[in-house]
């Protein structure tokens, strides 16, 4: 070990400590970076809050060190719960034979090994995942017949090689022990022969009656085969009615498309080459938005900047509730949900009021006919600037120039020209807002480029659930719910649960959910990884869904059952599917073609609908606006699809339940989100229970969570929680039980998403699990010699061009002052692994967190343990807030920090070259590999947790309990159940859960530290492949870590940093490249590219002036909040 006073052979400087950043821009950047805070408790700088702040700095929250075992014995919940001694007993029983010899293992070879199958080597099959109207092509990794992980299929436009978090977690549903396993009649276990007999009678009766009294409740159907079966149903049951039971379906935008064009018309957004993007409550970077994955990719293409001159899009967001899109906004207007439409009216008036010649209103539409609206000053300013920006995008002819240059044979630029614009509206907004956006997009000449139209000839018109509720009282007597859950999705005024109980209900679903529990017949359907199917994306790309495994339980696919209803025959899904496509293609269909489709994951040569309907009826828009516009007075209640549970269909998925909300970072529960100002007004604090009542609807009780960025006097509540899954044995779903609050009991059909209501304190509190209230990277204020250390660096586009090297200039420590406290390890490997994360395109979508969990066998710990700070996610997606208005920034109360901008930073093991964790491990369980990996050796770890204590990034995770309880054969014994049948069942459950585990990664036991390994199993697999092929090194791009692979925006790049031509080396050469906590000289291998915001110059100047005015008013320059800095910078004035 070197002596402390000698650094790199030189004598250490006398004074150590922070230096000043160079220049105005760097000062700004440091100042801004130090103003970010992660948790409300950590924001305040007042002395009385220092203690609270100190808590946020701690690795674990208060009391987390204490072991608590609940007294109420052991139940099934303990898969995710607390168990101290049980596993040890299991260990004893294992060692009775283990002392002498490991337990005997058997090898069971095939009788005849299938062609191409190599035992122990994964195989990959193309398939597709569909949710609502979004379809993502996937490549499924199958280990010895078990699908264990989904990856994106780069051939598929909806995937582009990435997937959403839902696709990632869907593999867990396949092995969910709570899934429905057999048909059930009136709550009793039945079988398929009885079910078929019962159904056949029913269908034949209904067929004779021409379908009178029959209702189908269906999901959004991206499957052409299912759509054709539904049309076939229409012929067999002419009088049957079809209802939309899918809250994920784009009901409003479809209504507008059909109004402007014709029945069956659909539109979709595209963002390729967008210069200006305006989102009106459209969270298009979130997974719930139709084609969110594709749109994220297209958007990121407009934000990947290297140098200061590179073009970059500008994103305007108008929304009531901070979303993924809002966090990435360049300008965000915090508006009430009911005012978002008003902002669009103001935009239409500003654009088409005659000021901009290039903007031509579509025929029959006039902005003058729209009602007058009053926006607050800030929002109006954003709208005016947006109008100007949009009009300029129409006028600019960069697209034409680029086309002409390409025609002339010029070398194509690295960047697609950014020359278009898009105005997007979210599904929460009523139909008139969508109609208005269509008119504006048409006026901006975006139709056909940014907003594209298609025509779905096979679409069956669907009625709403309200109509079903009406019909159930009158003529409807039989309801068939095809993979839908109307008993849960039905709103408070529809009373569907009671009405469905009274009718004859047949429920098809993965789970015996709310509807399944009350249905006369519940029929389990196959998971999409067990079934044949197909799926058509909004852009017409078709993918075949192929099964990876025979159905695990006694189930049939939705296609097979729809075919049964439509034809009375129960054929195999593959036959139904092939028959359909043979019919579509006629004689050109061949088996070779079919195999090619299956191989590529994309259907080629399918006939396309070429007659795109012309857009007309523009004159209908203004009346629709006048009629539809409903201002909301007083408190406004907003409902949103849950960003991790969708509409609730994933409520029994433990990965998704434990996944923190992308903005609030709440896991396991939903809450009433209110802004700090509104919370003060209501007199509520975090975790206080409130009663939320919707005018004309019902009411619900749930805890409050204070969330900056929420519009004043609004509450936002996520739907999808408070689900109830009932197994055939009467147990409740182990994950969904007790998680969150059902919001559908409060919603009314008149104000399903946005409505008036009231919020009142109910008394009492409810514990919420939040992952950002502890483990802060920023040291507490009392260590104020490090106060200025920024974790997140960002600059505006203007600052970036003024000072391209702002990151380097913002360093707070001279290169020569950086010192090693110990000898860093020798890095002798031929390849040196490193990673770069682009904060400019990381949208915080959380796909990487789930992908990492699936790939690396990361356990779920349950809500209590998340509260204790013991969650095991290797990637923590840190979200930072910064108050927008400078005069509220130092305000000690929570008031007036409603307006915030957010920054995101995925934080995982940084693989420091000089790792603080390694130097403190007493047993060398964490050591450095010659290729620069910070290896974690589970088998050596004795659980001192010194490493975690010494990690400045707070990324090490400790297994306080054996969360994989019951996964080993024999372990099921510890459930100590007397019931023999129950024991058998639990063993089966454990087998099912075990099947998802990745065999290439160790399943960790209690008492073990774990953390990101850079997917060392993937590195090793590629290295072995290269070595067997006689190559010294792995080619760049061969190794994709799980997080990198799934990232829709390509924000993560991994590779060899010694190879100057590798993608990661190129990324790290960007002037935006910086290492978090560089001044600690840990030399992390993961570095970040600082974010560049792109505010409009007009608004940017206003803001800059406000900052300067404020600084002057308190007698400080922006970069000098502490005394020492004030002294130094004072000299310049």
């Amino acid at each position: 070990m070197k002596k402390l006073n000698v650094v790199n052979g030189k004598a250490a400087p006398q004074r150590l400590g922070p230096i000043q950043p160079e220049g105005e821009v760097a000062n700004q950047v440091v100042q801004r970076g130090s103003q970010f805070w992660r948790s409300l408790q950590g924001r305040s700088e007042s002395p009385q809050d220092r203690e609270a702040e100190a808590d946020t700095w701690k690795e674990f929250p208060q009391g987390a060190e204490e072991l608590e075992i609940p007294a109420d014995g052991v139940s099934r919940r303990n898969f995710f719960g607390l168990i101290g001694s049980g596993a040890a007993l299991a260990g004893v029983s294992m060692t009775t034979t283990g002392c002498i010899r490991k337990p005997q293992e058997n090898i069971l070879p095939f009788k005849t090994r299938p062609e191409d199958l190599i035992p122990g080597k994964p195989m990959f099959y193309a398939s597709a995942f569909a949710l609502g109207g979004s379809v993502e092509g996937v490549v499924v990794e199958s280990h010895d017949g078990r699908p264990i992980k989904l990856e994106g299929n780069s051939n598929h436009s909806g995937s582009g090689g990435a997937t959403s978090l839902y696709a990632q977690s869907s593999v867990l549903d396949l092995y969910d022990p709570d899934r429905s396993r057999m048909p059930m009649k009136d709550g009793e276990i039945s079988d398929w022969s009885a079910a078929r007999a019962g159904l056949t009678t029913l269908i034949e009766d209904k067929s004779e009656a021409k379908g009178a009294g029959l209702a189908f409740v269906v999901r959004d159907m991206p499957s052409p085969t299912n759509r054709s079966l539904l049309s076939g149903m229409k012929q067999r049951f002419p009088q049957a009615r079809f209802f939309d039971g899918d809250p994920m379906r784009n009901t409003q935008s479809v209504a507008v498309a059909e109004m402007l064009a014709t029945a069956g018309a659909r539109f979709r957004y595209s963002l390729e080459g967008a210069k200006v993007i305006a989102s009106f409550d459209a969270d298009f970077l979130g997974a719930n938005f139709e084609d969110g994955n594709r749109l994220s990719r297209e958007w990121s293409g407009t934000r990947k900047v290297v140098g200061p001159t590179d073009p970059m899009s500008r994103l305007y967001v108008f929304e009531p509730h901070l979303s993924n899109t809002g966090m990435m906004a360049d300008h965000r207007a915090r508006l009430r949900g009911s005012q978002v439409g008003d902002a669009l009216i103001a935009l239409a008036k500003a654009l088409m009021g005659g000021k901009y010649d290039a903007v031509k209103a579509p025929p029959g539409f006039s902005a003058d006919a729209l009602p007058a609206v009053q926006l607050d000053e800030g929002a109006q300013a954003v709208v005016d600037v947006l109008a100007q920006d949009l009009a300029e995008a129409v006028e600019n002819d960069r697209c034409k120039e680029a086309a002409a240059a390409a025609a002339a044979g010029a070398k194509p630029s690295r960047y697609r020209p950014l020359c278009k614009s898009a105005v997007m509206v979210g599904e929460r907004q009523p139909m008139w807002v969508h109609a208005l956006a269509a008119a504006i997009n048409s006026a901006l000449r975006n139709t056909g480029t940014m907003v594209r139209w298609r025509f779905d000839r096979s679409a069956v018109p669907l009625e709403t659930l309200s109509a079903l509720s009406e019909g159930l009282g009158k003529d409807i007597d039989t309801v068939i719910c095809v993979d839908t859950n109307p008993a849960y999705d039905g709103l408070s005024d529809q009373g569907l649960a009671e009405k469905l109980t009274a009718a004859t209900t047949i429920h098809l679903g993965l789970y015996r959910d709310e509807t399944g529990a009350l249905a006369n017949w519940h029929l389990p359907i196959s998971h999409f990884l067990e079934a044949w199917g197909d799926a058509e994306s909004t852009d017409g790309t078709i993918a075949i869904v192929q099964p990876l495994i025979e159905p695990l339980h006694d189930t049939y696919s939705d296609t097979e059952l729809l075919h049964l209803f439509a034809t009375g025959k129960l054929d195999r899904g593959s036959a139904v599917l092939k028959k359909f496509w043979k019919g579509q293609l006629g004689p050109s269909f061949s088996d070779k073609m079919w195999r090619r489709w299956l191989h590529d994951g994309v259907v080629a040569g399918a006939p396309r609908e070429v007659n795109i309907p012309p857009l007309a009826n523009w004159e209908k828009i203004a009346p629709a606006v006048t009629e539809g516009r409903k201002p909301v007075e007083g408190m406004e209640i907003n409902f949103h699809l849950d960003p991790t549970l969708a509409d609730g269909r994933y409520a029994n998925n433990a990965w998704l339940q434990e996944l923190p909300h992308p903005v609030s970072k709440l896991a396991w529960d939903n809450a009433a989100y209110v802004s700090p100002g509104t919370a003060n007004k209501l007199g509520v604090a975090n975790e206080d229970l409130v009663t939320v009542t919707v005018t004309g609807g019902g009411s619900m009780e749930l805890p409050v969570f204070i969330m900056p960025g929420q519009a004043t006097d609004t509450v936002s509540i996520n739907i999808g929680s408070g689900r109830k899954v009932v197994r055939w044995d009467g147990d409740e779903g182990v994950v969904s039980e007790g998680a969150g609050f059902n919001a559908n009991v409060a919603r009314s059909s008149a104000s399903a998403w946005i409505g008036a209501g009231s919020v009142a304190k109910a008394g009492g509190t409810y514990a919420l699990a939040n992952t950002q209230d502890y483990g802060s990277l920023k040291p507490p204020a009392y260590l104020n010699n490090f106060k200025e250390r920024p974790i997140v660096l960002e600059a505006t586009a203007e600052e970036f061009s003024a000072e391209p090297n702002f990151v380097e200039k913002a360093n707070l420590m001279d290169e020569e002052r950086l010192r090693h406290l110990w000898e860093p390890p020798k890095l002798t490997g031929k390849q040196q692994w490193g990673m770069s994360v682009d904060l400019n395109t990381c949208t915080g979508c959380l796909s990487c967190v789930v992908a990492c969990q699936a790939e690396n066998n990361i356990a779920v710990v349950g809500k209590e343990q998340v509260i204790n700070g013991r969650e095991l996610h290797w990637i923590r997606l840190d979200r930072y807030y910064r108050a927008v208005n400078p005069d509220t920034r130092y305000n000690e109360s929570w008031e007036n920090i409603d307006d915030v901008e957010a920054a995101l930073q995925p934080m995982f093991c940084q693989h420091c070259e000089s790792a603080p964790c390694e130097s403190v491990c007493p047993v060398a369980a964490t050591v450095h590999s010659p290729e620069g990996l910070n290896d974690m050796v589970y088998n050596r770890c004795i659980g001192t947790r010194y490493c975690s204590n010494n990690c400045p990034y707070k990324v090490r995770r400790f297994n306080f309990f054996n969360h994989n309880l019951g996964l080993r054969p024999g372990d099921w014994k510890i459930y100590r159940q007397d019931d023999k049948a129950r024991k058998e069942l639990q063993r089966e459950d454990a087998w099912l859960r075990q099947m998802q585990k990745n065999p290439d990664v160790t399943v960790r036991f209690r008492g073990i530290m774990e953390k990101c390994t850079y997917c060392v199993q993937r590195i090793n697999a590629q290295k072995i492949e290269a070595h067997v092929a006689g190559k010294e090194v792995v080619e760049d791009g061969k190794i994709l870590t799980a997080c990198q692979q799934v990232c829709p925006t390509g924000a993560m790049v991994f590779g060899d940093i010694h190879d100057p031509d590798s993608a990661v080396s190129k990324a790290k050469r960007s002037p935006r490249n910086y290492a978090v906590l560089r001044d600690l000289n840990t030399q992390p291998r993961t570095t970040y590219l600082a974010r560049i915001r792109n505010p409009h110059p007009t608004l940017g100047a206003i803001r800059k002036k406000a900052e300067q005015d404020f600084a002057a008013s308190i007698g400080q320059t922006p970069a000098s909040t502490d005394a020492a800095a004030a002294e130094q910078t004072g000299e310049h004035h």
Partner: protein, 222 residues
Amino acid sequence: MPAIFPRWTNTLPVVLGLIAPILGAGAIFTVWYWFSPQYTDVGYQPAQPVPYSHKLHAGEMGMDCRYCHNTVESAAVAAIPPTQTCMNCHDGLVRTTNPGGLYEGRIANLKKSWETGEAIEWVRVHMLPDYAYFNHSPHVAAGVGCASCHGRVDQMVVVSQDQPLSMGWCLDCHRNPKPNLRPLDQVTNMNWDSSAENYDPDRDPARKREVNPPVHCSGCHR
């Protein structure tokens, strides 16, 4: 004042001083010897459901290892062959032999598997812990002979474990691999004798890369 301890206790320190080191050394020896994989694992020779003789097939008949273990060059495991592989030769024999003969008696399980499609439940001999991710393919590609780890399987009627397969044993070779390397075409040759051949892997033109086995943790543990 009466003595609290009887007189004979005066000898205790001496006796303990003599016995304790012996006991301590004994304990250390016990663990070192009887708990080591050298003692617990080497020679493990479980009975197999089909008394397949490697001595007969690989030794006397001279079949190449890779005829049955054909995934050894491309996968982590040198897979136990499917029943099909046995039946490539034995198919005709199964049909022609007399009732009560070999196929009804000793290797009836083979016939049963072939007829019913059920797997033969072979007992695993070489068993590494689950946290050690051994992969055959790079070892074979580097020219480590089968016999180096598995011993003279061609002389075993019933296969037994020949080497301890402990981490220390692995690392001995990973730190100094050259003595265990052989020409790439001699990997499956059971008779190849390193002492007789003066083989230097550095001068072998058939080798495309220098053998550089990992000795860091994540090389094998993930």
